[in-house]
Assembly symmetry: C2
């Protein structure tokens, strides 16, 4: 590997509408989701929109875990950026599938920060 | 369009090392970068790592703008998630290219939240 981070883009469709519009519940779920992959939480910021929808970011020592919800569409977009390229991010993903009650989840990964000399310099 | 958001993944290589490790400077730059695309700032959270590196997230009404820096590699990863699919995100991108003094920048966009019925239901 010669990338500095991995960015996991998660799509959660057909979710529980009630959960997607519940700021307090989402903050707990997102922090627990970060812990599921053994991330270290630094600080969380969550914001409720009117008439609906929540944005939340959990800043972690490994980078960030963010969520944006559209209750009216039963949809949530989550992205998990981690500088720990060996982190088991699927634990976070599966935890969110369960807690958001998503019947149509998916994810894709994007390698971030290709450093050509990283392999040789860091011995990885 | 039938997506709910656009996620712009920006790669900034060959940056000013000093800027990448300067939390106060980065917070100002990132907030100004958000404003350059007429985003509305809700709250910012920035964190300095030891021995180096900064993580910062600007939560905006349109979603979020986040940065993670590796001064030792002259590299910064930025991602800008916006639910305003007509936002001129290139203004944020070009502002950051300039302020981070990146000699090797690039970006890619990912459409988020495909809602098949959106086109018909919302008349877009």
């Amino acid at each position: 590997m010669n990338e500095l981070g991995v960015h996991i883009l998660m799509e959660f469709s057909d979710c529980s509408v009630e959960t997607l519009d519940d700021l307090k519940r989402l903050e707990v779920v997102m922090e627990e989701a970060a812990l599921a992959s053994k991330a270290t939480i630094i600080k969380s910021v969550f914001h409720q929109f009117a008439p609906q929808g929540v944005t939340g970011v959990v800043v972690v020592a490994e980078s960030h875990l963010a969520i944006h919800t559209w209750p009216e569409h039963g949809y949530a977009a989550v992205d998990f950026f981690t500088c720990n390229t060996s982190m088991d991010y699927l634990k976070t993903y599966h935890y969110l599938v369960d807690k958001l009650h998503s019947k149509s989840p998916s994810y894709t990964t994007v390698k971030r920060g290709f450093i050509p000399q990283l392999k040789e310099a860091d011995g990885v």
